[in-house]
Point group: C3
Chain length 423, copies 3
Amino acid sequence: MDQALFTANNVWMLVATVLVFIMHLGFSALEAGFVQKKNVVNILFKNAMIIAIGLLTYFICGFNLMYPGMNEGGFFGFAGFGIAMPADNLAAYAEGNFGIYADGGYTYWTDFIFQAMFAATAATIVSGAVAERIKLESFLLFSAIFVAISYPITGMWKWGAGWLDAAGFYDFAGSTLVHAVGGSAALAAVILLGARKGKYQSNGSIKPIPGHSMPLAAIGVFLLWFGWYGFNGGSVLSADPVGVSLVFVTTSLAAAAGAVTSFIASYALFKSHDLSMVLNGVLGGLVGITAGADLMTPLAAVLIGGVAGVIIPFSVVFFDRIKIDDPVGATSVHLVCGIWGTLAVGIFGSKAGLGQLWIQLYGTLAVCAFSFIFAFALMYILKVTIGIRVSEEEELKGLDVAEHDMNAYSESVEQSAYQLSVK
Amino acid sequence: MDQALFTANNVWMLVATVLVFIMHLGFSALEAGFVQKKNVVNILFKNAMIIAIGLLTYFICGFNLMYPGMNEGGFFGFAGFGIAMPADNLAAYAEGNFGIYADGGYTYWTDFIFQAMFAATAATIVSGAVAERIKLESFLLFSAIFVAISYPITGMWKWGAGWLDAAGFYDFAGSTLVHAVGGSAALAAVILLGARKGKYQSNGSIKPIPGHSMPLAAIGVFLLWFGWYGFNGGSVLSADPVGVSLVFVTTSLAAAAGAVTSFIASYALFKSHDLSMVLNGVLGGLVGITAGADLMTPLAAVLIGGVAGVIIPFSVVFFDRIKIDDPVGATSVHLVCGIWGTLAVGIFGSKAGLGQLWIQLYGTLAVCAFSFIFAFALMYILKVTIGIRVSEEEELKGLDVAEHDMNAYSESVEQSAYQLSVK
Amino acid sequence: MDQALFTANNVWMLVATVLVFIMHLGFSALEAGFVQKKNVVNILFKNAMIIAIGLLTYFICGFNLMYPGMNEGGFFGFAGFGIAMPADNLAAYAEGNFGIYADGGYTYWTDFIFQAMFAATAATIVSGAVAERIKLESFLLFSAIFVAISYPITGMWKWGAGWLDAAGFYDFAGSTLVHAVGGSAALAAVILLGARKGKYQSNGSIKPIPGHSMPLAAIGVFLLWFGWYGFNGGSVLSADPVGVSLVFVTTSLAAAAGAVTSFIASYALFKSHDLSMVLNGVLGGLVGITAGADLMTPLAAVLIGGVAGVIIPFSVVFFDRIKIDDPVGATSVHLVCGIWGTLAVGIFGSKAGLGQLWIQLYGTLAVCAFSFIFAFALMYILKVTIGIRVSEEEELKGLDVAEHDMNAYSESVEQSAYQLSVK
């Protein structure tokens, strides 16, 4: 491994890290756009704290829990608190031995920060689903513990060379290990939390609660798509030109196909051009391609994204029918399309086959089950101790005033009087 | 070509691809900001669909139509549907022969995805100009066909080694081939579509229809500038350090000069500090430098951008005088400054000269004429078949409710009552 | 220095440049979000002009004033107007001598554009603090002169191999040279300008003037954090893998720690979950780590960012008590945390020590004093000549209407009547 190639690889991994970082703004904007005006500060606050908590907990224990693998001793492979560059690493670099760590793909520090950004996204997925009625402290505690413990354990099963890896399970960039994990936790949380007041009415009708800003939601989706080039492209774990560029092609085409088929399917279902369905169709396509972005032909990517786009409106309707109230559609996007994408590895591309399909199925179910149970238990403990839901009065007022003493949008001081005079 | 250099080149081209991608969010935000509140969902929907349709059509036929060049047989050089890495390519890479494709600048997959992002921008330019009154389906059909057929044909004339290339025409990153092409199509579409109701009144006065959100418009322009580093910087087609960094300098200075001169010129014209003029001045400077970003000294870049900035307010006034109703100023920015930038290659920089100026002139006119006629014919066919304009009632209501059954912004359920009580 | 390594280095520096560029959108959005609705166009206008003016003045004289150093002759080391690649540079590259400029880290053009983006941020810091009452022309003149002369002079003291560099002062990426410089200028400007009308009332009470859009402010902070990876990561001045990736880790952890401690400290102070404090806590952590991002362990980064996060709410309260009216908290974030970060280099990390702490202290005070005095004198001259403050009537109306004849947000034409009918 020569120095220049090592440097080019590491540059790409750092760029990918930056792109994954901005997905946190993407989630923030998407979720803020899809909630009501009275809960916007709350969702922004949660998202700003999640990236912070996610990075810190991953620093404290998550990274060492996830990556040493099950065989390197210690409790479940836990390698101790904090992070520090392995002692032999710097010396090796100094001697020009650039391949010592991660086959010359990147440094130890790059490894940590790329994976830390990834980890934090899993918790962020939950925040949209539980929006508009969860208690802030309970949510932050939940996120911190989930990212510190549950996400790294299931991550280790595959990416830490654990039992699923040994069994041949494949998940390139995390359709299961990130998205379905986050989606499972979201589902568990929503079940315990219950629907927003007034959403499902006693006469059986479902009251639409429109998001307060479509431009914010659209900004969010475009930024998520943007960041996904780092999420999937960085999962190549080097700047390998053919590898990364193929992943760019499959990721792009899956997202595009998701938009188009979601447009068509939702038009067929609702006879309307539904922007939120198209936006979630893009995300569904992206989640769907994530497990096999490196294995697919361009055409297979179009098919995988296209199926995900069709899934979206049906899944959203399904969850509403069973009274799972998810304001942003996170379970449909991340859990359902995450499972779909994981299965698709057994159907399309270079690993397709019945045996692989079977292993993909039980792998994703095992991971989802663990995540769901962990999240359910954790949320249940919070529910019976400090409580997880704001009071009815606070929910009606909105969490911005109830928990934050502020509004997301303010008129100018003296504005009202002036506005009248200019008109 | 050694592996490390090939890898570094390809990393840059992928980063450039990501930057061009985010220009689609830039266009979305800019156009959404400049339209009325009642048409915001519609413009976001169109922009989300255009990038999806653009990528898919470029995958289906655009890439193969544009790049094999006129000499490689088939109808107008068309090389067949779909994309696939050339058979000898992977083998060559495996043997360490990294220079086989694109002189080692990037892989086949990178080539496709970078060019696909480019192609989609041409259609996006149209969407702003026709905003607030075009039928959604007609627009999407128009975009798909324009990107699939017209854009690649004129693109091939120069970048596919066609007749304009042979004639010595120069257009580094597409002042003509992307921007004036999009601008010509926009002009054709606006002529057939007509002005928004009430814009040009019977007594000759022009009613201002202000955009609904200046922050959105500003976000759009900053993101477009941001993405332009990939648009121009990626057009070097490798990471050549001197080449790409010079392009960064000229691109930056032209944008900056466009802002300053547009500020001064619009102040002189309107006696006001007009934010929309400054924003369009930035874009005018960027479009202007695009044809010769690799040929100019920093000072020449300042002059080219500066002239573009002066053009903007005059051009906007001119189009309003002749009743071409373009809500976002797309024709001024992309068509007029695109032509200016193309001509500037004959005036400034290392190719300057009367002969070159002449060839730049007829090259840009030929491309604009083809694009205008193609767009006009296509839009005319749509007009006499499925129709291109919404009904007067729908226009008054706004396209968000008329075509999408939703509003861009919603108050919270129960918000109104609560708001009154806290004040 | 081989070509591939040079290319990889230069790619990273260009990516860093693009990231620093987008910080200007970050500042725009943050400041726009924190001002009143009636002053939004004004703040966007100022920020769009600052980046333009900053780039142009840096091209005209700033770059040459800052970088040749004090020893290379000319007035204060000034090397003449304009920029041009050194004559021997291209020839050396052509011969394959890639190490000739900047030790092979990047080209001359990259050097200019990266530093130009940096320079423009210093002026942007001021714009938030003086928002809502400064005259547009006075501010633009102030910015242009400050970026053209004052910023490069203090920058030269350290980065241009001047006297502070010789004395052993350390400031990796500009806690002092960019942030405290901008913060000092902001403080000087606010003192001369006075508080917004009605902010500090005669009975001693302080009237809160809430920002008009928390989503905009949050977008701004996320984009600033995003861009900071280029700001700090690019300050390595090459793509050195261990160096840049360590900087990514320390920068990330400091920002995260700033968010968490600011959350806790502001909750302790105000008994509320204050979003603006968390957002400023992120920025405080980022400013704090900037001086020593390359010297710290991950744990030291957490501590430095954590202290900065605690500083934020106390500093904001302090400045309000002494009637320094800073609508966005720029003095707390950039001046106070900038000084803290500079001192932290003497407390933590590989340069820690009493001697170093002392030199850090007098270095930062010298730079702050120069910047404050320069800014104060310049603003004073503007005050007694063309005036720096809008009239009371204009302030009440808002600068958008008073200086720009437009509103940041507009209802649709005919919207009002229609809105009533659909409800």
